[in-house]
Assembly symmetry: D2
Homo-oligomer: 488 residues x 4
């Protein structure tokens, strides 16, 4: 069953992918299933797993949740082997058809290669057109396939050299896992925009987008893969390479929004615990933008940690005044137009018992289009709140992301076309405040933002992109991804 | 897709059904869909909706979540009409095959009748055998069908009289909605064990298991249907009847566990707000069983309101030390035996950053088999907690429920075979305490429990069942439900 | 997938059902599957099988061809036991929803009973209303369910007496198989309108609609079940009963159209081989309606045996001038209106090489609405035939059948509203002739038709129905089958 | 639903594909659907259609019969445009997974190209390895993809030159249709082994494997595409090219087995009507191998035309003594091992009434493994035949085909390991004769076979292959098609 995504209803930026790889553990596909399940928040639409066993690669790709598709015995049985990579996706560049579900596989002159990728290659279309001129045929619209063709066209001798020659031609954000018959490869782009960690399960190496994918199976966290690093895992152990010579001096620019919303609260990334960062954000927010209210109410579920921090920082009681319907999933289609316009409460309900007569501080992680915020404020008012103040656990989101995050175009971002005062009026709150960019940097442990060379990628707040955006800015930016309209 | 239920993994009592009915509103099926969606927590396995329109009844019954099945335009279009009833179910008496999905429909001599039911009729098998002797043919194994046959066999003249003659022969717990061409009927058993409320949507009458099904569509709460009351809604308005003469003097015995776990926190039942009761439970628990710990951590999601109450009552910080994977749904099949025995963390993960070195009070709503509690405690210890204390927001559950709740047999209830001390050892906590039965009564607003005539049904805690259990206790108690093994 | 039936495209009367039963053979369901496969020409829309094993009945009912549904190991494994009945259906009275797929099952006071039926009970609605008045609830719209309720309501002591009391209240055509825990029952209506044969597979008794269901598994043909006979097969052997006392003197009226079209050519019914009868029909037709043509061309496939007989009788070469596309199945939906009106040749193609410049005799079994005949004649002319003569292997079909055959209403039967000359003009042939009713009787071996008491039911040709048509003629004839519009 | 093919049960050589293309007709996909439906006998497992419309290509590929998959409005609606190609397949080289369903599509530097192919490229693996060395990534295991890569790698300027450069590198049998945004291309290999015809539908050009695909929509047959010819259809008309210079002098070697079995009887190929050839084969067979029997009985359905010819030639009555069950389709799975060994008659039944006591000549088109023949002879004997003589409408099949026909390996061909006498004994007939190779040439209108340069490809009878078999004979012949085990 296709899980239709209602982007309007779920007014957030969305990370697009999670990746996982394991080497040297029998029943590897089962562990990859577990790992992808733990990374399900990074992409719920589809998933794929490849294994290698005894001269052959095995691939399964399915639309739907991991727990609904890859846990069927018939599926797992078709994935033998002790090495495996997997991928879970939201809606990567290239559309949602089956042919775009990763990992992608290619049979090269030297053997099979399969790749799964979190991020977005910002020069993929440019490179793709060059490859097509040389005779390459693309079978998907995924930017990941560009990597396969670069490797295939490389005239280097061995697969590892070919792979390195390929990735240094890429720009943008990419945390990759790749598998050949004898190698599990992981790498991050030179700025380390998306996360990738190394783990160890009783002597088997693991690569995963977040540490929560290690925790689920009791694996040990070893370290983050470094920006620009490529690790190659074989029977003999793990080797580390830094192929991006030119960018050697460039500093890491990890995505700060991973802390705000994308990552799971129990993950540790780049030395920081996500739940703790979010609570600190709440504390900073309470300091920067205090509010003399009766109760602090989170917009569930993503606003909860910051609300706890805010409540502790401001010494105001924390209350669950809004209840979330956990069954709405991503699939509820509002039955008819008539009902759609009634503004029904499919996803949240405000509890009048908690809210009536109260001055309320609502805490949410971000405002994207503002549509959901507006509905929630109205609902809280209808439940009897006397005053509604909103505090947002990040700066205003002004600019789209081109590094593997699903964001609306700039003109649809509320903060790009309104002042904070106008936004407050639009969503009809008594007051609205956002965390400052320096406050956000403080919450992650920095003294403040280094304006010259920021410590993170914060382009969605600042419009300062850390890389070129070649496909976006060049003459090809209106180019269609494919001449093929659909592909079943 | 069938949502396989892993009862072991989800160690709770489960309410088995939610019902909804609406009369006199065009597009009635869409409103029923919304109502059932709001009641999805009362049963996630299957649902059915019946409408009546222009001389014909229309029925759709599907396995799966409302949001996945009834929101398809093709389904809604097959359900025209301005009057409708619906039902969502967990796993009612009678097994899970399609023929048992309610509402059930019968074509009687006087016209069509369709019924949906929340609860369990404790003399259904006894009555069914009697009816079979008279020539009745049952097409399901649902106890609800008994009602249809009693109505069909009644020699009263009009449908309302037949219906009343039928229901007075029933024992047990039942909150029913029924629909004929011209009548929407609702009734509760004489003890009012399961909830049923009356609402009003711009002049259209609504019946629903909980008020959250009114809130989702902006309907107004009118009142609870009274224990033993039957309401009959027609074009001319609503009439109220009390057919259970003999039991007239009997007092209400509403299920107290609805407050502990079954009902949605934002619902108001019998004059009490569920979230508030749960918070009060936490406060009572902090008073009765204090604990000098560093942090209060709820077992998500059901333990959260009581944990907030406990934290406020005990003045200990509230922290989300356990993260729930929202995508586990009800369907994750652990892929292989090997992995099943690893004790992987499919559903919850403990956050070491929050827990390490801390003395922790875990707050959960109840302990059923104890299997989940044991795993959670182990996980919290592995995350580095120095001490783990558990506080349970209800008394020990000693006895199964026969009133429409899915409970394990008595021998599998941990509290029925262990003392609290033994239970503490079994789940390996430093201390374990339950709320007292009087504490629970205080949390719902009573001074204490009236031991002679308790104000609620609390049989699961006290083994005092408020009705006969005829099928259970009589000679027929080992009788097979059906001679038919499966029915596709 | 539902096999949509395009009645227009397949312009024939259609027999509605085949039945099969076997007693005392392990793996009974597999034999029933084979038997129903051999009877697939009697109904292709859906099928059901019930078995009994060790205290329980097991039922599977599926839409689609036997070979696609019942040959799956998972289905067969759910049908254990050494006794079984099965049913394959076209579109019985009562619509096509799943609840109408036979066999039907009922749990009676004395145990389980399951029934499958070929034919049509002409007083079913009348009896059903009477039963509803007594409190019976029907769960299908199948006339077969009437039998179950009559048995359930019977006050006789034993199941066999109940069953006999039930069936003597039925009118119309019925060849039944029924199964209880210990009995396999077969019976035919007093006129024996539909066929039912008894077979023997190495000591296990078999009941089947036609002998081809015996041949497929190498079973021995024992005898036809007699009109009005009920046989009861148990571990002790077979007993024969004649419960229809009143009708004892009535003569058999077997459906003569079974010979013309319904039955499979390799079956023997009532002592006659179907293929041989069809060839004799061709010979009679050549004698009655000779034609001085160059070639005899059958309308495939049903016209082939009569065409062979005609060619031999007339001493004209037999040629396959029309080719049938075997893959059209029953499911081809003409893609668009534009194409539908082009008159494309989805099912047949005429071979110009054979037809060009020739005078052609087309032989077909019958003309119902005439639509297909018209298209075929046009196609043959476009292929270059000089003259087109049509010879029909039966008399004109003037009247609908009420005995379990799907026929259009009278007004749509071409022969009911046109003379033969008008029909010839309508379908644009140079000459058109039908076999005479006496010729048909001669082909089946009679001297001629006994006008007072015809030897067969030939109502579709003569309008002389051998039974009352109570539902049809009475005041209830416009009664809706059900108040329930659809039932998923 | 997958239609599982039971090759054992259907003991024939099988042509592997049919192709169709249309240019300049609105609703092109609907006409392609019709054309493929008429070609369904050339491949029943899966089909695909591509259209081009307004800057985009549209593709649909489905497993199953055309009439079940492509006639759904939702499918046809996704295929807009006035130019289209389509393909229906049996089980081409490369396995049965979805990725191998044709047409295949590639996005080249100069625009989109899609190709569908009937035949087999005998140097495909050799060429594929060379292409992989240059960096090509294959996304299927179909030999057709080789063509796409050759075109993509060509350094010629325009698509037509690239296409010609590509196909002259191919060896083997291929009748192709290809589509670009502005061109419909058709071509046949230099020997014209597989058929391809040109048609005209009211001014729109059509390409199809057989003329029956023209007849179904009333299109006019224009001519056969010539061996080695490439036609290119654009808005300006049709151009003809002969790119295979070197082979210019080589004579046509059309597959003679197309006349024996593959083609539909109503098709005309290379100037001959297939039904007429088959009848002539019967006449030749009666002359060469007369038989003094009572009746001629065809093995249905493929033996029917030759049996008619034989009966006319030998002046013996033609009788349908074996009845075919049309519902067996390709999907019947014999339910259990026990039953499989009973030798049940799933597909055919012999009619004792026709056969008993008779001396019978059975006429079949060919004997491949002999398994089916053996069963049929046994069945005919059990039905009472006194003598059984078999006459085969082709010479003994000794050698496998490498030109796009599914044949068992040589060792499984009965004629490759037995004399005719041994074969007669194996299948237990009283006499067995095959048509001589010269008799077959006479039946198609030649005086006799030209032994030096045979007029047809008859390698399956003579082991004389008209081309090199590079993949087969070279060092790569054991090479795995793919490193990828499965691909969902």
């Amino acid at each position: 069953m296709t899980h239709t995504t209602d982007h309007e209803a779920d007014d957030h930026f969305h990370d697009e992918c999670g990746v996982f790889g394991i080497y040297g553990r029998s029943d590897a596909a089962s562990f990859t299933t577990l790992g992808l399940h733990a990374l399900q928040h990074r992409g719920q639409e589809a998933a794929g797993i490849v294994t290698y066993d005894n001269g052959q690669f095995h691939i399964e790709r399915h639309v739907g949740l991991i727990g609904d598709t890859f846990t069927k015995p018939s599926v797992i049985e078709r994935l033998p082997g002790d090495r495996s990579i997997g991928h879970t996706r939201y809606a990567t560049t290239g559309g949602s058809s089956l042919r775009n579900i990763q990992p992608l596989f290619a049979e090269l002159d030297g053997g099979g290669l399969t790749v799964a990728h979190n991020g977005n290659i910002t020069n993929a279309l440019t490179v793709q057109r060059e490859l097509q001129r040389k005779g390459a045929i693309f079978s998907s619209t995924s930017d990941t396939e560009t990597i396969l063709h670069l490797v295939a066209m490389s005239e280097k001798k061995d697969i590892l050299s070919k792979f390195q020659e390929a990735i240094v031609q890429l720009e943008g954000a990419f945390s990759l896992v790749a598998l050949t018959a004898k190698k599990l490869i992981g790498c991050r782009d030179p700025l380390g925009i998306r996360p990738l960690v190394l783990g160890d399960l009783d002597g088997s190496w693991i690569l995963a987008s977040e540490t929560c994918a290690l925790d689920i199976m009791g694996a040990r966290f070893v370290r983050d893969i470094k920006p620009g690093e490529l690790v190659c895992i074989t029977d003999k152990g793990i080797d580390s390479y830094f192929p991006f010579k030119a960018q050697e001096e460039q500093k890491s620019r990890f995505c700060i929004f991973e802390y705000v919303y994308f990552a799971r609260p129990d993950s540790n990334i780049e030395g920081r615990n996500v739940y703790d960062v979010r609570k600190q954000i709440g504390v900073e927010l309470a300091n920067e933008e205090p509010c003399n209210a009766d109760i602090v109410v989170p917009v569930p579920d993503s606003g909860v940690p910051a609300a706890i921090g805010f409540a502790q920082g401001a010494n105001i009681p924390f209350e669950l005044g809004i209840i979330r319907n956990h069954y709405v999933g991503r699939t509820f289609i509002q039955p008819t137009d008539a009902i759609r316009h009634m503004g029904v409460k499919l996803k949240h309900n405000a509890n009048p018992f908690v809210l009536e007569g109260k001055s309320v501080v609502l805490v949410d992680d971000s405002i994207v289009r503002g549509t959901t915020s507006k509905k929630i404020v109205q609902m809280v008012r209808e439940a009897g709140a006397r005053e509604v103040h909103m505090r947002i656990a990040s700066p205003p989101t002004m600019s789209p992301c081109f590094y593997g995050v699903d964001t609306p175009e700039k003109s649809k971002l509320l903060a790009s076309r309104m002042t904070v005062e106008e936004m407050a009026e639009f969503i009809r709150v008594d007051s609205l405040s956002f965390l400052s960019i320096d406050g956000l940097y403080r919450a992650v442990g920095e003294v403040n933002r280094n304006a010259d060379v920021p410590q993170f990628c914060d382009a969605c707040f600042t419009n300062q992109y850390p890389t070129r955006l070649l496909d976006q800015d060049g003459p090809d930016n209106v180019r269609k991804l494919s001449l093929l309209a659909n592909n079943n």
